[in-house]
Symmetry: C2
Subunit: 276 residues, 2 copies
C-alpha cells in the first residue's frame, strides 16, 4: 500500500501518531514485547508489537543493547540480556524469597518427588518464582516467570486470602477468568474458601487439565506478618491424599517464613494479621 508521494496537502499536518509518550515508557514497552512465546525478535517485530516506527525502535533498542538489557543474536534478532537478568536477580520479591526458600523447597521436593512451586502476587495475578520438577513428573501448567490467576490456583488462593480486604473485594467483583481444567467457583464459595484458607493455612485446588492433579498450598509470611509468597506442591490426583501432604507443605512454608523474619504466632490462629 503505497500512497501517492504527492498529496502535497497532508490532511493532518504531518501526523500526530504516537508522540506524547515518555521515552522511558516506550523503551519499557519494547521490553514488554518479549514473552514466553516471543523470546527472540527482529527489529520489525519489536517495532510492530510495540507500535512504533522502526527508526524509533532501533534507536531505543540500540541504547538497551549498549547497556545489556537486550542482546543481539548472530541472526540479527534481539533477546533479553544477561545484564537485565542480573539486575532483576536483586528483586526482593523475585530472587529474594526464592533464595531463602530454595533449600526448603528442595527438601520438600526430595521427599515427595512432585512439583514444588513458589509464587508471589503482582497486581491481580500470581507470578511463579520457582518450580522444582523431576524430569518425569506430570505435566504442569505454569513456567517460572509466568503468571497464573488468583482465583483458580492453590497459590493464587493463598495469595488472595493474604491480600487486604479491599483488594479481595475488587477481585471477587470481577468475572472469574476461566482457567482450563478448573471449575470456576461461585463468588460465595470463593469467599468461604478464602476464609478457610486463612483459618487452616492451607489451600487446595483440583485440576483436570493439562492433567489431573491436586495442588496444596500454604502461605509464607514476612517479618511484618503479611503474606509474602505462597508455596505449593502439585501431585497427580489420586496419588498421595491431600491431607497427608498438607502438614509437609505447611511445615516447609513455616520454615521459610521463619527465615524471612516472621515471628510465629503463639495463638492457634495462623493468620491474624494483614486484613486491611
Amino acid at each position: 500500500m503505497t500512497i501517492p508521494p504527492e498529496t502535497d496537502a497532508p490532511p493532518v499536518r504531518g501526523k500526530r501518531p504516537k508522540q506524547g509518550e515518555p521515552v522511558v515508557d516506550r523503551a519499557l514497552s519494547l521490553l514488554a514485547v518479549f514473552s514466553d512465546r516471543r523470546r527472540a525478535l527482529t527489529l520489525s517485530e519489536l517495532a510492530r508489537y510495540a507500535d512504533m516506527p522502526a527508526p524509533t525502535a532501533l534507536r531505543l533498542i540500540a541504547r538497551l543493547v549498549a547497556w545489556g538489557a537486550l542482546e543481539r543474536l548472530d541472526d540479527g534478532r534481539y533477546v533479553v540480556g544477561v545484564r537485565l537478568w542480573e539486575v532483576a536477580s536483586l528483586s526482593p520479591r523475585g530472587h529474594g524469597v526464592r533464595e531463602i526458600a530454595l533449600p526448603y523447597l528442595e527438601d520438600l521436593f526430595e521427599v515427595t518427588r512432585h512439583h514444588v512451586l513458589l509464587a508471589v502476587r503482582d497486581n491481580e495475578q500470581a507470578v511463579l518464582i520457582e518450580r522444582l520438577s523431576s524430569r518425569d513428573a506430570t505435566e504442569v501448567a505454569y513456567r517460572v516467570g509466568g503468571r497464573a490467576p488468583l482465583r483458580s490456583t492453590a497459590v493464587g488462593l493463598v495469595l488472595l486470602a493474604g491480600a487486604d480486604h479491599q483488594f479481595q473485594e475488587a477481585i471477587l467483583r470481577k468475572p472469574p477468568e476461566d482457567e482450563p481444567g478448573v471449575a470456576a467457583l461461585p463468588e460465595g464459595q470463593v469467599r468461604r474458601t478464602l476464609s478457610d484458607v486463612r483459618r487452616t493455612g492451607i489451600a487446595m485446588i483440583r485440576r483436570t487439565a493439562p492433567s489431573r492433579t491436586v495442588s496444596v498450598a500454604s502461605p509464607i509470611f514476612d517479618a511484618q506478618g503479611s503474606v509474602a509468597a505462597a508455596l505449593s506442591i502439585v501431585v497427580p490426583d489420586g496419588s498421595t491424599p491431600p491431607n497427608v501432604l498438607a502438614p509437609a507443605v505447611r511445615a516447609a512454608a513455616r520454615a521459610v517464613s521463619r527465615n524471612l523474619g516472621h515471628q510465629a504466632e503463639v495463638s492457634s490462629d495462623v493468620w491474624t494479621h494483614s486484613q486491611g
Copy 2:
C-alpha cells in the same frame, strides 16, 4: 559532527551539568545503581549514585515504578520489581540455560551434596546463573546474579577457554584482577591451562579463601558448538579428590549440552570449534 554554530554563546551559562545523555541511558543507570549491597534505595540515594538531580531521578523512577521495573516499599524506598524479574526470566542466557540445566544440576547436587554452580560469560566476567547448596555446605564466594573473574575461577577458565581467540588475548593482556584466596597465575601458565581445559573439558581451581575449596568445572555447549555456559562443583579441599569428581561434572555438562541441541563430537577431541 556539528560545527559550533556561533561561539558567542555564554561560556557555561548557568551550567552544563549532565545534559546530552539519552533519557533511556539515564533510566537504565538508575537500575544499575542497585547491587547486592544496595537492594533498597531512597530517592536521594538513587539520584546521588546515578549522578542526576533529584527531580529528574524522581520523574524517571515514576515511569519505572508505573511499569513495574521498580517497586516502592512502605518506607518510601525503591527496590527492583517483580515485573522486571519476569521479563528477565525470558533471557536465554539467564533463565534459559538455567531452566534446561537445573535437573542435571540437581542430580549432581543430590549425589555429592556439595555446591553446584552454573555460569555464563558476560563481557569480561562470569555471571553466576544458578547455585545449589545444602544449608550446611562450606561458605562459597559468589551469589546467584553475582559476577566472578574469568582468570581465577573454574567456571571462568572454562568460559575463557571457550571464547574466541581475540577475546582471550585481550583478557590475557590485562593485569589479572587479584582474587582473594586464589594465586594469580602468570600469563604463560594461564595459556597452558586454557589449552588443557580445551583438551580435557575440565578446569580446576584451588582456593584458600573464603574457605579451602577445590572447584571442578566443565563446559556446556550450545547447538552451534560454542561454549554457552560452564558448570562446576565446589568441594572442601581434601575431601573428594578432584579426579573423582571430574567424570561426574563432565557427564552432567554433556547432558546439559545435549539438551541445548549440541551434537557430541565423535572425535575424542572434546573441543574442536569456536576458536576465532
